[in-house]
Symmetry: C2
Subunit: 223 residues, 2 copies
C-alpha cells in the first residue's frame, strides 16, 4: 500500500474512494487540460467547481483523497495537477490493450483515435472467425482467441475491451480472466460476472442520449 | 418557461443548471431504477449520496434545481422520483432518432439494445454510399443524406447520432442543422461547430478506459 495514497485504502486494505469521485477525476483532468490549452497556468477549487458543477468544497474533498495539490495564495498549478491526476489514474504510461470481437463495433474501436491520445494502445485483436484471423484490421493483427494467453504475456497486456455479441460475452470474459487480464471494458449490453480481483467497466451509450434529450428539452427559453 | 422549473433558468432565460448536475441526474435515475428492481420503495439523500459518492447536501442541492421531491419522514418515493427524473430528462416519451453514417460504428449503434430500453428509437439511417442506400440495416431503412429533410419531417426526428469519419463530420453537421435537428450525439472524435440553438454531446470513449486503468492501478491492496 503506497504511503502517499494512504487515504485511498482503509485499515482492511479496501479502496475507499467513491466511484463518482474517480469519475470526476477524468473530468478534472479534461478541464485542466483545456485550461492549459487556453494558456492558463493556475486554477483553483472555485473555478474547477464551476466547470464541473460542484461546490468548491467538493473539489477540495475529491482531490484530498489523493494528496495535497494546492499552493497557498496560488491554487493549483495546472501542469502539476495534470501530471498528478495522470499519475493517480495510471495513464502517465502507455497501456497495452487487447480487443476481443472484430464485429462492427470492434472495427470502429480499432479505428477510434481518442484511445491513443490518452495513452491506450490496442496491440492485438482476437476473434473466432477464420475469415478475419490472420488478417490485419486498422493495422492491428487479428488472432484466434486461443492465442490470447501467449499474446497477453508477450505484449504485457493488462486491459481488454470486449465487443462480442451479448450471448458470447460471459464465455469470453471467463477466458480473459483465466489468462490474468486485470481490467475489462465491456461494450456488450449485459451484466457479466468476474472474480473480485478483476475490474469491469460497462459502457452505457444510452446515458449520453439521455443527456442530449435533457439539453434539447430544457434549452434556453430565449432560443 | 415552465413555472415549475423556474430555478432552471435565470432572468435572462438562460439555463443555469451545471452540466455535471445534469450528468448526475442520469446516475440518480439508474441508481433509483436499481433500488426499485431490488424491491425498495423509498430512498433518501444519504443513500443516494453514498451510491454516487457525493454528500447528502449535494444530492439535495442537485434535485432542488428541478423541484421538491422529498416527503418529510419518508424521503424520496422511488417510483415517483424515477417518473420525475424521466420527465425532467424528457425521456418519459419515445424519441425518434436518425443515424448518419453506416460504417462499422453506425452498424454497431443500430444493433445497440440499450437505446431502445431508455426510450430512444433509431427510425432512419443515412449515408452517401450507393451500396447501402435502399437497404435495411438491423431493420432500419437506409436513405441518401439528401432525403434527410423529408424524413425528419415525416418521422418527427429531433435527435441525430453522427458516426461518419472525422473529415466528413462538419459537413454532415451543417446539413443536419439545416433541416432543423435540435440535438446531435457526435461519435466522430473532432470538435464540431453548431449554432447556439443546437445541442451537441460528444462521446469520449477514452474516458471509460481511463476509469478502468484507475481501478486496476488502485485495486484493493489485499487482492
Amino acid at each position: 500500500m503506497p504511503e502517499s495514497k494512504s487515504k485511498l485504502f482503509n485499515d482492511q486494505g479496501e479502496l475507499v474512494v467513491p466511484k463518482a469521485v474517480v469519475g470526476r477525476l477524468s473530468l478534472y483532468l479534461r478541464e485542466v487540460q483545456h485550461l492549459i490549452r487556453d494558456g492558463k497556468e493556475t486554477t483553483n477549487s472555485t473555478e474547477l467547481g464551476k466547470l464541473l458543477g460542484v461546490t468548491d468544497a467538493q473539489v477540495r474533498k475529491d482531490l484530498a483523497y489523493f494528496g495535497q495539490f494546492g499552493h497557498p495564495g496560488v491554487g493549483y498549478r495546472c501542469q502539476e495537477l495534470v501530471a498528478a491526476i495522470k499519475s493517480i489514474m495510471g495513464t502517465n504510461t502507455i497501456w497495452n490493450v487487447a480487443l476481443v470481437g472484430i464485429g462492427n463495433l470492434g472495427r470502429a474501436l480499432l479505428r477510434y483515435k481518442g484511445f491513443h491520445e490518452q495513452g491506450f494502445q490496442i496491440v492485438a485483436a482476437f476473434d473466432v472467425d477464420d475469415n478475419v484471423i490472420g488478417t490485419k484490421v486498422e493495422g492491428v493483427d487479428v488472432f484466434h482467441i486461443r492465442d490470447l494467453a501467449s499474446m497477453v504475456t508477450a505484449q504485457s497486456i493488462r486491459l481488454v475491451a470486449i465487443s462480442v455479441p451479448s450471448h458470447a460475452a460471459q464465455a469470453v470474459v471467463d477466458q480473459v480472466v483465466e489468462v490474468g487480464i486485470e481490467g475489462i471494458l465491456n461494450f456488450a449490453p449485459v451484466t457479466i460476472s468476474v472474480p473480485s480481483k478483476v475490474r469491469v467497466i460497462g459502457v452505457d451509450l444510452a446515458m449520453e442520449l439521455e443527456q442530449l434529450a435533457f439539453t434539447v428539452v430544457n434549452r434556453d427559453s430565449k432560443s
